[in-house]
Subunit: 636 residues, 2 copies
Amino acid sequence: MNDRKEFRDLAEPEDAREAISSLDLAPETERVPLVDARGRVLAERLDADRDVPGFDRASMDGYAVQARDTFGADEADPAILDLVGEVHAGEKPAVEVGDGEAVEISTGAVMPSGADAVVMVERTDEREDGVEIRTSLAPGDHVMLAGADVSAGQRALGPGARLTVREIGLLSALGVDEVPVRGKPRVGIISTGDELVRPGNPLSDQSGQIYDVNSYTIATAVEEAEGEPILYPHAGDDYDEMERLLLEAAKECDLVLSSGSTSASAVDVIYRVIEAQGELLLHGVAVKPGKPMLVGRFPGSAYVGLPGYPVSALTIFRTFVAPAIRNAAGVPEPTTATIGARMAVEERYGEGRMRLMPTGLVEDENGRALAYPVDKGSGATTSLVEADGVVTVEPDTAYLAEGESVEVRLFSPDVRPPSVFGVGEDDPALSRLLDELDSPRYLALGSREGLRRLRNGVPDFAIATNTETDAPTNTPEDASEGTELASYSREWGLVVPAGNPEVIEGLADLVERDLTFVNRGTDSGLRTTLGNAVADLADERGTTRHELVESISGFEMTVKAHESPARKVAAGSSDAGLGLRSTAEKLDLGFVSLGEERVRVLANPARERKDGMEELKNALDSELVGVLGDLPGVRP
Amino acid sequence: MNDRKEFRDLAEPEDAREAISSLDLAPETERVPLVDARGRVLAERLDADRDVPGFDRASMDGYAVQARDTFGADEADPAILDLVGEVHAGEKPAVEVGDGEAVEISTGAVMPSGADAVVMVERTDEREDGVEIRTSLAPGDHVMLAGADVSAGQRALGPGARLTVREIGLLSALGVDEVPVRGKPRVGIISTGDELVRPGNPLSDQSGQIYDVNSYTIATAVEEAEGEPILYPHAGDDYDEMERLLLEAAKECDLVLSSGSTSASAVDVIYRVIEAQGELLLHGVAVKPGKPMLVGRFPGSAYVGLPGYPVSALTIFRTFVAPAIRNAAGVPEPTTATIGARMAVEERYGEGRMRLMPTGLVEDENGRALAYPVDKGSGATTSLVEADGVVTVEPDTAYLAEGESVEVRLFSPDVRPPSVFGVGEDDPALSRLLDELDSPRYLALGSREGLRRLRNGVPDFAIATNTETDAPTNTPEDASEGTELASYSREWGLVVPAGNPEVIEGLADLVERDLTFVNRGTDSGLRTTLGNAVADLADERGTTRHELVESISGFEMTVKAHESPARKVAAGSSDAGLGLRSTAEKLDLGFVSLGEERVRVLANPARERKDGMEELKNALDSELVGVLGDLPGVRP
């Protein structure tokens, strides 16, 4: 183990930023067809090389005339002109307009020689002996002169102009069908780790394989930063393979990113490849997460090594790498990439190095953003979905007070705070109801955690269960837990294999017989309900709850989600699991009913009137009965 | 002309919105590879069908142990365990951990059977007789349990979720490589008009041809609204051709848009095709611009007819059509699509119908947006570049007061107010200097208009000229015109064909000889300078300025841009044109010098400290001398 690399002399984050900005990521200018130019950045100034319009042009349907022939004309005393021809848009005029003459003309047509004004058709009438003009015109009326819109030689667009719909319109008018634009930096992505498997392929849990997350998140983040991502195959920890892949990517790309070498040995391999083939500028940064970051260069390409955990990799990418890619691409960061918020809770630090804190957002009743730390380990991919972005906490910050202003760097400019945010019991009916809402966030962390967080005031609502024997109405204690918006009952019990081969009839079987059981975690309301039932059974038998629990094999084997025990049963690894009738039926398993428990939807009183909560209430009013009707074992 | 369609019974804008929202634009759900899913909208909820991680996983490099073997261990009194093997990430453990045993483990590896905790390598030392553990562990330390991140059966993402980097990370972790997403509405675009030519092809000015702008702007705007644009060939006004194209597009698309039929006769053709082949819901809307809007449907496709002028077409698209496309695509309008601003000037109305006012934006010293109307005819494509968006003015609004709050619907969510906004004289040196600035807007409308607008307080700076005989220092009058930031001289005179074949020596030749001349417009400072020179010559000769002007053939023939007279000379259509030495040399023409005039850069005193103005001042300080050195006929 002594050859493992440790990071003792960490660089300051500012040095890492400087090292990355010293790298040359700038791609060459390219020429793209106008139809593909949206969002690109003009590489050089473009001057108009023609007049727009290229000719004096009628801007109305009507008659081209000599203005002086209409002087004094009005409704009462119209001028009568001879109609000598017509000219349509896209035609070369075949006639001239002499004294006392008019030519019918359509919008966009070339002004015939001699004419200097157009009278709109609404102010005229055709008569047998000519055209009646019921208004006076000045020279130039309803005529757009050649070059009036754009003149040849005029500066049309400057270098660095972002090509949006407007600029594409101007370039079209000038007849430009291909434009010189800044190239997009090509960014090679190499995920390292022998355990990685690309999504869509089979996975062996026994061998410790996991799906590759970083390749896809970093590629997406590169696109969002206006770079062009190129995915390379996974590299294991083998020196030769790593060297071959890194050099191939360095040859083809402006920047090579690696990730996934969280084990020190893999970092060591990359470290050695870079020292042998390029130059290492920086090794280890005083930032959490992201300590093992590398910055260097190969001949012809820059290099940054990202940490392996997805949230860490993305956080470091967004903080240090994305700005450099945007800069090379010539595009500013979108204004939506950061959002100002106030801390929803106090948060303490004491680490002495910069912290990039994954942060969730929730809106208060006035639509202002509140930020709260998302406290999952950086290995958790769900942090990505539960957090909206990152708050940078400087090393000398001891704590962030509740209400303090922070700037949240969003994981993507498209990220929006959820419309409504709930925490609590995992429940199939609620889960279906969420499908009716605009963009809800719901963390199924159990009833206990839901109630705890609701008391802290962060979520908009919580879901918690009570057994039917609990007081069903609002007691003073309930009031402190929030306002009950709705409640319904669900049938719980033991999920057993289809056909119930062990003929399990109730809890007593688990206690008395040699059966294996899978439980839920202690945060789960269902687990509390089970605990109460065990206590009741103990009372009945004149023994202790502890005694009964000890005799249930697997009572302490807890799994996270409400379907997990049932899935263990389905997989044949347990005889019974704690679960709901609806889950058992969904998975075609047997079910031994042990009772009903009540699921309660509790609102944060400070948020009851926010839009997302109104939407939730509407859904509860209009959809809950239908959802309950579709699921077995539930009722209002 | 009596068969021309007139729009007498106009629908209210709200009815147009309703008619469009009654159309069915919704495309079918499609499945896309995860790598192409960025920005797409999930069509249905996705539940996790596996645990993440799929196994109990070490979250540190170190040793897997039984926690109870470390109870009481610390730096002073370490526990010594037997090292019985190792397990790396991606490997199936080949050993078990028994009492008093440890297994070396790397981050991400499967926990070997028997072990319930991991001690991090930093708290250990390998010794000859085993591993020294210098800390106590609790069961579960540095172990991520199977399903701890995501559990099988858990709701992963709901319908309508926008797939950003976060969601793509979660889907990767679940092994999903293809996702069901809402289809993008297919939007067919047909520009109509016999005069249209696609950019990149040659154009005949004589025949009144112009480049097609709408096809490209509407296609770009459709992409920005998350639809998929499909360009069809141009249609002329021929019934059969129009019918064939419209039906082809209707068959292939969810929505067909036409534009360009501003002439009533073309609208009539479309009108007749729709009445024959589909259903016309609405014909003409009480909105300016955009009166001749059509809404209808073909079998299998919706239809909207846009006005022909580019700004009008885009305005109507953004106001009425884009929301319907976004709605069908399931994506909200970006928050950057509108911006709040205050009116920089008062604006009066009296039209009695809704007005969609093209609006420019400029930022005040505090970075707040000010809005001003862009008063070009809707036929002008440059309005697209000079305006940033549209303000909707309701029919009953008589005026918008200076300082009044308005909401500007940007032409594109990527549009940003310019960093600095100037108006005034067209000048090659200034034009080059603008290339050094971040995102300037400069309207070359002449010195007079520049000074007028500076007095009104809208632009940040103006460019104006003085002849050298004018007072060069700040007089009280100058002060009212703004603060002079810099000035330089440019040589002006007559641009003549190369070699000066007519041997023109000065103004006297234009007066005395039968030569044709091209002038600039009266807003141009250069024209004023010429006027002064003519007046001086008149004084010299004891005649009037008017008399001399009358004897110059073409004195009243004015063209817009500073290069335009020279280009007329180059094209052989004139003997001499008013212009600058730098222009003559650029176009390889001859030049007869008539003097020097001073170009002054004048700042709006209320904006001098805004960032863009600081950038302008820096560029003037550091770049102006270099720019002047590169151009003939200019000097500091």
